[in-house]
Assembly symmetry: C2
Homo-oligomer: 69 residues x 2
């Protein structure tokens, strides 16, 4: 039986040591765009951030980013 | 109304130019572990890969990794 895959519902956070700041909810796409990351959510909204993807924890619906200096 | 968040069902691929190789299905966690990435799927299986997270495309259920030399 084929199981239909479900959409992800993950939020992107910027982490800085112990601190964690929500950057975007319900993120759908993250991809490099020049020196930045382009984030797009399920509503089609975009953000461009100078960061890299640090880690993913889908059990907590979290995408963690770290700033690039 | 609060909407319950759904689990992600994303697969991790290693990209190399035009080529794309499936590394792990139903990935739950990706995090740095020393010089490698630790991937864990929803079944608790683990892989350690010398790579970084390149991009995410949840609309296609894809996590794209690139190898670190």
């Amino acid at each position: 039986m084929e199981r239909k895959k479900r959409m992800c519902e993950a939020n992107a956070y910027m982490i800085d040591g112990e601190n964690k700041t929500l950057v975007m909810e319900s993120v759908d796409i993250i991809e490099p765009e020049g020196e930045k990351l382009r984030l797009e959510n399920i509503f089609g909204e975009q953000k461009f951030i100078k960061a890299r993807i640090h880690s993913l924890a889908f059990n907590d619906h979290q995408i963690n980013l770290v700033a690039l200096s």
